[in-house]
């Protein structure tokens, strides 16, 4: 038992998740402490891992709702009459035709087609967009966006991360709870829509987006308003099972929904095509990385991210080897765990294209022992409303 605390810390360091420098705190840090959260370093941020039980918080999000502090995410505003055209150049997905009040997910690639980050774009009004980027990529993204915008007239970019707090209320009860705090604004908002709204007397950007595979909302607010909003949402939802939820549940929820995490399924050497995000890459427009991605698609992808389901209970972890029936390494696990909803071990893995078809029999090497695994369709979990909606051929991607 000796090594448990050290083991987790060591894994984080090896994966580059901590940088050893001073920690940053969100405006909700005091709330987490008061709630008895287990705090961890996440890319230099001191964040709640859980408030007692990752699995309990995971289940609460699937059955009621969970409130997440995601203020560590980065925010960049892009303004001006050329903003839409600039974002079409910067991002793989088409943004120019995004209407005000709408949100869209997109990868952002380098000229070589490698992924710089994946992010959400909110079109706030005619000439104003908000990009929400991963905490781990805030500095790199800002440097990249600023440099790219340099050659554009009629485009202003601004890092507004430090002036923006964010929390996410995710789960089937989210709309009802937020409706009571927003005079019905929440349920009137369609999926992937955003608007300015009054929530608990505070002016916020309310968006019906998330990263859990559930219906839910992301709430962007002034840092000074974060504590009051956090308390109001928890108080309003307590009677119907709404709980605070940490990064542990956020990770297991997004894994069940097969949503990629930058640094695991995506990275500088993994293109959005390899990650299975081809539907968010519009090769019919010009953008940074387009030619490389076109070549990659034409040549055939050598590797793909697939879903695996293990035949027995064992815990597949990031970096574990994926083997073919002959015992040869054909890839690596990018994310994995025991799915609380399915009660089975599942993983996302980057594997050779030849073994990436659904039904392929592989194995994951768990602490030296090969455990049988099958390539299965993703997502591993689809919420009721999506399961019954035949128009959803694939996962609604909520990303970033």
């Amino acid at each position: 038992m000796l090594n448990f605390v050290g083991a987790a810390r060591k894994a984080d360091e090896e994966a580059g998740r901590t940088d050893g420098s001073g920690e940053r705190r969100t405006p909700l840090y005091g709330e987490h402490e008061a709630l008895g959260a287990r705090m961890v370093d996440f890319h230099g941020w001191r964040m709640p891992l859980d408030y007692g039980s990752i699995v309990a918080e995971h289940r609460a999000v699937r059955s009621a709702a969970g409130l997440f502090d995601v203020s560590h995410m980065g925010e960049i505003e892009v303004r001006g009459s050329g903003a839409g055209a600039f974002l079409d150049h910067l991002l793989t997905n088409r943004i120019g035709n995004l209407a005000p009040g709408r949100a869209r997910y997109s990868p952002m690639t380098a000229p070589d087609g490698g992924t710089i980050d994946d992010l959400m774009v909110y079109r706030l009004d005619e000439g104003r967009y908000l990009l929400v980027v991963n905490a781990a990529r805030r500095e790199a993204d800002w440097a990249w966006v600023k440099a790219q915008a340099g050659g554009w007239t009629a485009v202003d970019v601004e890092d507004v991360g430090d002036e923006t707090a964010e929390m996410a209320l995710q789960g089937p009860r989210a709309a009802a709870v937020l409706d009571r705090l927003s005079a019905g604004a929440a349920s009137a908002l369609g999926r992937f829509r955003c608007r300015t709204a009054e929530v608990a007397g505070r002016t916020v950007l309310l968006a019906r987006t998330g990263y859990t595979g559930e219906d839910g909302f992301e709430i962007y607010c002034r840092p000074d308003d974060a504590v009051a909003l956090w308390r109001a949402v928890l108080a309003e939802g307590r009677g119907e099972g709404v709980v605070p939820a940490g990064l542990g549940a956020r990770d297991s929820l997004r894994l069940e929904a097969a949503l990629p995490l930058y640094g695991q399924e995506l990275g500088p050497d993994v293109s959005p095509l390899a990650a299975g995000l081809g539907r968010f890459v519009d090769l019919d427009k010009d953008f940074v990385g387009r030619d490389a991605l076109q070549r990659e698609r034409d040549a055939g992808l050598p590797r793909r991210v697939v879903g695996l389901r293990l035949v027995e209970r064992a815990v597949p972890r990031t970096g574990y080897r994926v083997l073919d029936p002959a015992g040869h390494e054909v890839g690596r696990v990018t994310s994995g765990g025991i799915s609380p909803t399915l009660g089975a071990a599942v993983a996302l893995a980057l594997v050779a294209a030849e073994v990436s078809e659904v039904g392929a029999r592989l194995a994951v090497e768990v602490r030296g022992r090969p455990v049988g695994a099958e390539v299965v369709p993703t997502p591993f979990y689809r919420r009721e409303a999506e399961r019954s909606d035949a128009s959803h051929g694939s996962a609604v991607h909520e990303g970033a």
């Binding site: 038992m1 000796l2 090594n3 448990f4 605390v5 083991a7 987790a8 894994a11 287990r38 891992l49 859980d50 039980s53 990752i54 699995v55 309990a56 542990g248 297991s252 209970r313 064992a314 815990v315 972890r317 765990g337 025991i338 602490r367």
Partner: protein, 129 residues
């Protein structure tokens, strides 16, 4: 705070004597540090363990930890229920979440382990470190 009917290791296992045999598990402090336990790997019945030998693995959502034998001996039973309900380790670390039953080869080894009060000091020192 810690049950007084058993002994403890620095690695946070407990061992409770029962006649010629003894039951082994992990402490409440250990399960709390680990968080939600999702998998427990236990040895085959009949295996001979040396004192301090790794005999199994406990995995939580976020971490992996080895289990070490508090004393040498022969494994006479393992908690089969943990295969399908590993969360018993969190819910009831001292009873329902037991891991192995062992027949100690040198009963004197047990006396060298910490009692509840000494273990409490050990936890305090570790938590404060």
């Amino acid at each position: 705070m810690h049950p007084t009917d058993r002994r403890y290791t620095k690695e946070h296992e407990w061992i409770r004597p029962e006649g010629e045999e003894a039951v082994v598990g992990i402490t409440d402090y250990a399960q709390n540090q680990l968080g939600d336990v999702v998998f427990v790997e236990l040895p085959a019945v009949g295996r001979e363990l040396r004192r301090g030998e790794a005999f199994g693995v406990v995995e939580s959502v976020k971490s992996v930890a080895d289990l070490y034998a508090p004393v040498g001996g022969t494994v006479v039973a393992v908690n089969e229920a943990l295969a399908s309900a590993p969360e018993a380790v969190n819910r009831s670390p001292y009873e329902e979440g037991w891991m192995i039953r062992i027949r100690p080869s040198a009963p004197g080894e047990l006396e060298e382990l910490m009692d509840g009060a000494a273990y409490e000091r050990h936890v305090q020192a570790e938590a404060g470190a």
